[in-house]
């Protein structure tokens, strides 16, 4: 088992030729006693659900509250128009992330990665990267084990829950996990993958969890879109050989400190941020009635 990013990179380099997915599978076998085949087949189910969620979310229908739905489809049409300013790989990741979180809001089937509210980032980046890098089924599975390995370290040293650590812990963690997996999928080293994690978390540090009416819709859908797009930029920075001045483990420690110091109004209580704007409060009244 690895408890820090430094240990994770060291163990991958020493025992698995720098392959983090292999380290994660070996660790999972050791901890759970399950066979390699069982573990791979469990991950295959998650992959299948993720890939379906990217497709199933791409509709014009709205959620029960009417707060979200249809934006992924708008992005899809925009990509097809060819007028996009950003690269189409990034834009398709943005579309995918919104599709998954819109589907989640519509009571569709998603794979919570690491949570339902941040379920868009990893599948979004994976689907988009699979097209760009022509990833095989095995490489897609490895992508998820790599993302999970970094997620485990973040979860055990900081948090993956918005109620505990704000949105930096949810979309921040998801985006960082996706960025790291992307680096390895593109042929980058374990160390470079760890640098991408640092880039994402450093830049989402302090992001609050302020869902309108307490629901997993606004701003969650669009935050996943940003998380997915940023994963690509962070991965490119790492692959360019750029390094974080602050070591990744210290960045994760900072995220923990920031989360602990964050007022409860900014931790999924709908008592601060966007939820407390005049429009946020009006939407809440419309959905739940004035007596809440």
């Amino acid at each position: 088992m690895f408890y820090s990013i430094e240990e994770l990179v060291d163990q991958a380099n020493t025992n698995h030729n720098g392959n983090i997915a292999e380290l994660m599978i070996a660790t999972e076998i050791e901890i759970t006693g399950r066979t390699r085949e069982e573990i791979i087949s469990m991950m295959e189910y998650n992959l299948e659900v993720m890939m379906n969620s990217v497709v199933d979310g791409l509709t014009a229908t709205k959620s029960a509250t009417g707060l979200t739905g249809g934006d992924a489809l708008k992005m899809d049409n925009y990509i097809k128009s060819g007028k996009g300013l950003s690269d189409s790989t990034i834009l398709s990741a943005v579309r995918n992330a919104m599709a998954v979180n819109e589907l989640n809001a519509k009571m569709g089937l998603v794979c919570a990665t690491p949570t339902a509210g941040s379920a868009g980032c990893v599948p979004a980046v994976l689907e988009s990267a699979s097209n760009k890098l022509d990833l095989s089924h095995e490489q897609q599975i490895d992508f998820l084990f790599t993302a999970g390995a970094f997620g485990l370290v973040i979860a055990n040293n900081a948090s993956i829950s918005g109620a505990e650590g704000g949105c930096q812990a949810e979309v921040g963690s998801a985006s960082a996990m996706a960025a790291a997996a992307l680096v390895q999928a593109a042929g980058g080293t374990a160390f470079q993958a760890s640098q991408a994690v640092a880039f994402v978390i450093k830049n989402l540090l302090g992001l609050i969890c302020d869902p309108v009416a307490g629901l997993v819709e606004v701003p969650c859908v669009k935050r996943n879109a940003m998380g997915a797009s940023f994963a690509f930029v962070a991965a490119d920075m790492a692959l360019a050989g750029i390094e974080s001045k602050i070591p990744t483990d210290e960045v994760i420690q900072a995220m923990y400190q920031v989360g602990t110091a964050m007022p409860s109004a900014f931790r999924e209580t709908a008592e601060g941020g966007l939820a407390k704007t005049p429009t946020g409060e009006r939407l809440m009244e419309e959905i739940f009635g004035s007596d809440k």
Partner: protein, 223 residues
């Protein structure tokens, strides 16, 4: 090995679930499902009390739909969860709601489910404590603490002497250790419920063996 909260990659990548919220949707499905397994059949008449956060936000999170889906026996990744109210109606399950936003409960995500089947009444309270994890805190008026994180047997039996002895005897012969045990019943001579938390996850054919004991009405194992 150090004591850490998350040990498996599937704590991070997963679970597969119908959205939108692990606590208010997936957790609610699990509460409904536990209730169903305790009564052992599809309830005919259900009264569902929602408290505090569940009462305030159930519409947006589909908590009501999720609880009924669980009562129908669905798991958190069942794609038919959104249709649960319609399916319940088709199966003749009558559901009524008591929405109590101000009622005091020990946990903000609390649901109390009261089942009337034929002449019997069963009441069960469940709380959703985050990430899809739940606890059962009350059964027929008795305070219990069932985390469902440990392997748990829930056995419904006729309330006659010797049933519990037969069950524990069988577990002892199979070398399965009991961590905690709860007994409750509707009223003397009616149905009784035995809840046993175990140390072992892999209990082989024990569920089938208990099912074949005399006076056993229903057995479920959660691990």
């Amino acid at each position: 090995m150090k004591n850490v909260k998350f040990k498996s990659v599937f704590d991070i990548i997963g679970p597969v679930m119908v959205g939108p919220s692990s606590s208010h949707t997936a957790g609610a499905v699990r509460i409904g499902r536990i209730v169903r397994s305790i009564i052992g059949t599809t309830p005919k008449e259900v009264e569902i009390h929602l408290y505090q956060s569940f009462a305030k936000t159930y519409k947006g999170h589909g908590t009501d739909i999720a609880l009924v889906a669980g009562l129908l026996g669905m798991d958190t990744d069942n794609k038919r969860i959104p249709e649960s109210l319609k399916i319940a109606h088709e199966q003749g399950m009558e559901v009524s709601w008591v929405i109590d936003r101000e009622g005091k409960t020990s946990h903000p995500n609390t649901a109390k489910i009261v089942i009337h089947n034929d002449n019997s009444t069963t009441s069960i309270t469940g709380i959703s404590i985050g990430g899809g994890n739940i606890q059962v805190t009350e059964l027929n008026g008795f305070d219990i603490a069932l985390s469902m994180n440990t392997p748990t047997l829930i056995i419904v039996n006729e309330d006659v002497p010797g049933v519990v002895a037969n069950i524990t005897d069988l577990l002892s012969k199979k070398k399965i250790n009991i961590a905690q045990m709860n007994l409750t019943r509707e009223s003397a001579g009616e149905k009784a419920i035995v809840i046993i938390e175990l140390d072992s996850q892999d209990i082989g054919d024990v569920v089938e063996a208990i099912r074949n004991l005399p006076h056993i009405l229903n057995v479920n194992f959660f691990n």
